[in-house]
């Protein structure tokens, strides 16, 4: 049960972030997803949670061990996040996160 009264102490602080998927990821998961997350959430679990809404979308982004496929490109507010750093990169309020694959066809 949640308590919405003045003395609310059980709600954790939440931050709002926007997740943008591109190309195939967008087809499977949609885009411009605004979501509230608990302050202190890291990049990888956030994307994992969103991607799990569609198993095919999840499999497109993550391998069977739950790690990002090595070709996936991650950006936070226009800056590249290396896959190796994603698990220890915190999202903060107002972050815009982009997740996309290289498009290969010609």
């Amino acid at each position: 049960m949640r308590w919405y009264g003045k003395e609310n102490t059980c709600e954790e602080e939440e931050v709002m972030v926007k997740i943008r998927f591109f190309a195939r990821f967008r087809e499977l998961l949609g885009t411009d997803i605004m979501t509230d997350v608990v302050a202190g959430t890291m990049f990888t679990p956030l994307i994992t949670t969103i991607a799990k809404k569609n198993p095919e979308g999840y499999a497109a982004i993550f391998d069977e061990n739950g790690a990002f496929h090595e070709f996936v490109i991650l950006m936070k507010n226009g800056k590249r996040i290396e896959i190796a750093d994603a698990a220890k990169t915190m999202v903060v309020d107002g972050d815009e996160i982009a997740v996309f694959p290289p498009v290969a066809g010609g």
Binding site: R24, E70, I73, M75, G78, P102, V103, A104, G105, G106
Partner: protein, 251 residues
């Protein structure tokens, strides 16, 4: 110097960038890697614009499944080498330019040689291993690489000036798995036009190039956007290159 026929042919674009610009196009040599979905519109428009020498390379024969997008090739060309089909069409579109069509698989052993002294490379490939090879040659020869990629209704493009902008490996360090990708012909049409526009601007020395920016097109949403991309100092392809300032073809 131009013949009267050429002056007439290019009249409407000479209004835009002058006879001097047209002369620059005529003296230029562009290498197009691939005569497929992207290579078709890119080569057609560079040919009619009067790019003096176009080398186009492909190793495939025309298949019926190509015809929804590879507009250089017609129904009658099924079973024919793409290079033969491309050479014929491009030469007919513009008899005043030189077309070199090379029927070969681009690999490490031949890439540098067949690209030769081209002024720029158009990436019209359908796979990353070959794209990385083109990227390496562009870096070694210090010539631009005009990147494009498509899938379904979705496409991307960027202009790579080695030493100045991020290279293909800075942006996409790892290749995605290869697949038989869905594609609707309009998408390589749009992305190919972005690439061809970039080639012309580069050769003419006009406008703002699509450098340091990845252009992204979502045809389903009719939405274009760009993502800023940066050089990776540790890039295995271009990490050792000193920064250059020139992003223009030498006059």
């Amino acid at each position: 110097m131009f013949s009267e026929r050429e002056l007439e042919r290019y009249k409407r674009q000479i209004m835009s960038f002058g006879e001097e610009g047209q002369e620059r196009l005529k003296k230029s040599h562009i290498f197009i890697a691939g005569a497929g979905g992207l290579g078709s519109p890119v080569s057609i428009y560079l040919a009619v614009a009067g790019v003096g020498t176009i080398t186009i390379v492909d190793m495939d024969v025309v298949d019926q499944t190509n015809l929804n997008r590879q507009i250089l090739h017609f129904d009658r060309d099924i079973g024919r080498k793409k290079t033969a089909s491309a050479e014929e069409k491009l030469q007919e579109l513009n008899p005043d330019i030189t077309i070199n069509a090379i029927d070969v698989k681009i690999d490490e052993s031949n890439a540098g040689k067949i690209i030769g002294r081209a002024d720029g490379i158009v990436d019209a490939m359908d796979n990353y291993p070959t794209r990385y090879l083109l990227n390496d040659v562009a870096i070694a020869k210090q010539i631009p690489l005009f990147h494009g990629g498509i899938r379904g209704f979705y496409g991307q493009a960027t202009t790579i000036i080695p030493g100045t902008t991020p290279c293909l490996k800075c942006i996409f360090p790892k290749a995605p798995p290869s697949e038989v990708f869905p594609v609707v012909g309009v998408t390589p049409g749009i992305i190919g036009m972005v690439q061809a526009t970039e080639v012309l601007k580069y050769l003419l020395g006009i406008g703002e190039l699509l450098t340091g920016r990845l252009f992204i097109w979502d045809g389903m949403q009719a939405h274009a956007e760009e993502i800023c991309v940066e050089r990776n100092r540790a890039c295995e392809a271009c990490g050792g290159m000193a920064k250059k300032t020139r992003a223009r073809k030498k006059k």
